[in-house]
């Protein structure tokens, strides 16, 4: 159930900061595992992963692997980007509804426009300084 891993030969433009909780996410992602926290009390997923459940505020959460499969809810291409991202424009980004019932926003790693409501899949991307994720058209 692991996701594909792609290599990128450059560092991330704006690296996320791992915390005791989210480091677990980033470390698993590096190995091609896409997971998040799920509440042991109310069974809700949450994304980004959190040490608590935002829905019922339980502190009892477990890591659950996600399939990485979903549907593209919407998308855009960003031509005017922040200075930090000037070497990465145009940036393709989208909102994805994962099959586990979680909505996330991330980069779309293919240049061609993916049709809204079509299937997409999450991939892990290993930059030289650490991982990020992104989505592409599903097979």
């Amino acid at each position: 159930m692991s996701i594909d891993v792609i290599e990128k030969n450059r560092p991330r433009a704006y690296p996320p900061r791992p915390t005791e909780c989210t480091a677990i996410f980033w470390e698993a992602l590096e190995k091609g595992k896409f997971q998040t926290t799920k509440c042991n009390d109310c069974d809700s997923f949450t994304f980004p992963p959190k040490p608590i459940c935002p829905h019922c505020w339980s502190s009892s959460v477990s890591w659950k692997e996600l399939s990485g499969k979903g549907t593209l809810y919407s998308r855009t291409t960003i031509y005017a980007a922040p200075a930090t991202f000037e070497n990465e424009t145009p940036i393709h980004a989208g909102i994805i509804d994962l099959e586990e019932g979680i909505r996330i926003a991330t980069q779309l790693i293919e240049d061609e426009a993916i049709p809204i409501d079509s299937p997409v899949e999450i991939v892990a991307i290993r930059y030289t300084d650490g991982p990020l994720y992104g989505a592409r058209k599903a097979e």
């Binding site: 900061r17 919407s74 855009t76 005017a80 980007a81 200075a83 980004a93």
Partner: protein
Amino acid sequence: MKQNVAILGMAATPVGKYQSDPSADIHTLEHELLAKLVIEAMQDGGLPKEEVDSLVLAQCRPYTQQKYFATFMANYLRMPCTASVMEVLGNGMTGGIALEQAIRDIESGRARAALALGANFESRTPSAEHMNSSMRATGDVDFHTPFGLTPIAWYAMDANRYIHEYGSSRRELASVAVKDRYHASLNPIAQYQKTITLDDVMAQREIVEPLGLYEVPPRGDGAVCILLCSEDMAKASGKPYVLVKGRGFYHEGVHQISEIPNDMIAFNSLQRASKSAYENAGISAQDLDFAEIYAPCTIVEVLASEAMGLAPRGKGARAAVDGETTLGGRIPISTSGGLLSRGHPAYVTPLYNMYEAVEQLRGDAGKRQVKEARLGATSCELGNYNAAMVQILEAVR
């Protein structure tokens, strides 16, 4: 006992470019400009300074060198206060929060008169630098910002979803920009007053697909001061005034996107806030003579007009195309020219929207006057309208 709240005076500077280069020989500084507006607003309302018990300031941009601007202004204008001296912040809603706190100070009787005011200077900071800060505002710094998402990228995703769901088109959305510019051409304080055509809009380079340059907000500087007081005090002044007839606020507990999939383009918070405001005012959407909507992009005005019940779901863009939201139409929207053409010095934009609503309701809007305007609405928001604030305003002349 709750006081009815009135808007009795105001002043604003035209939206434009004021901020000075750090190495300039002569500087235009926020406090000198804003002090002038405070005095003008008080003269407009005919109240002496001693009546003001409350100063609520929309926070300045971080580029403003003078920090703790509210207390600085209290000194600059020598205004002792018994109710509030504070700065507030909440993204694009900042100016609306300032207004709301001033309203609350009057409503509760804590203040006899209150000022909601602010100066937003940012034009000297290049957009790419400015976005280095704003990209950390409209999403999660660790789970959204690393992908390069900018504030308006979220609205662009609203646009593509809207086009997909309702079979609308970029041309339909773009018509909002043409209408806004036409309104701005009649507004002497608008940043862009030269009319444009639909072809002009469509010909611009894309900023965030499907939105081009004329469909996203320009950057500019501005400053506004709004004077509020109890209706009793407004009545005693003998001047025309505007009554704050109803208000609504709702935050849906979501920042940009809901991790639980929802109908993102329903603007759920605005639906709730406007419903509360209408009920609070004892009116329905159909009673409004105009609406001054906080809409940084064409698509946002369309979605907001639908959420506020001014157009049916999926028909907002069409309503714009058909001229229903143009001056003289069924429900004129953004008669100031809106954020796209009146301009968008973001932290004070809701104060500018209030300024326009009051001009309309006092009959001072000149060539862009909505005939017999009696009831108007203003909205503002943060995120992707994840929180919304709505005010219903009534003319009393």
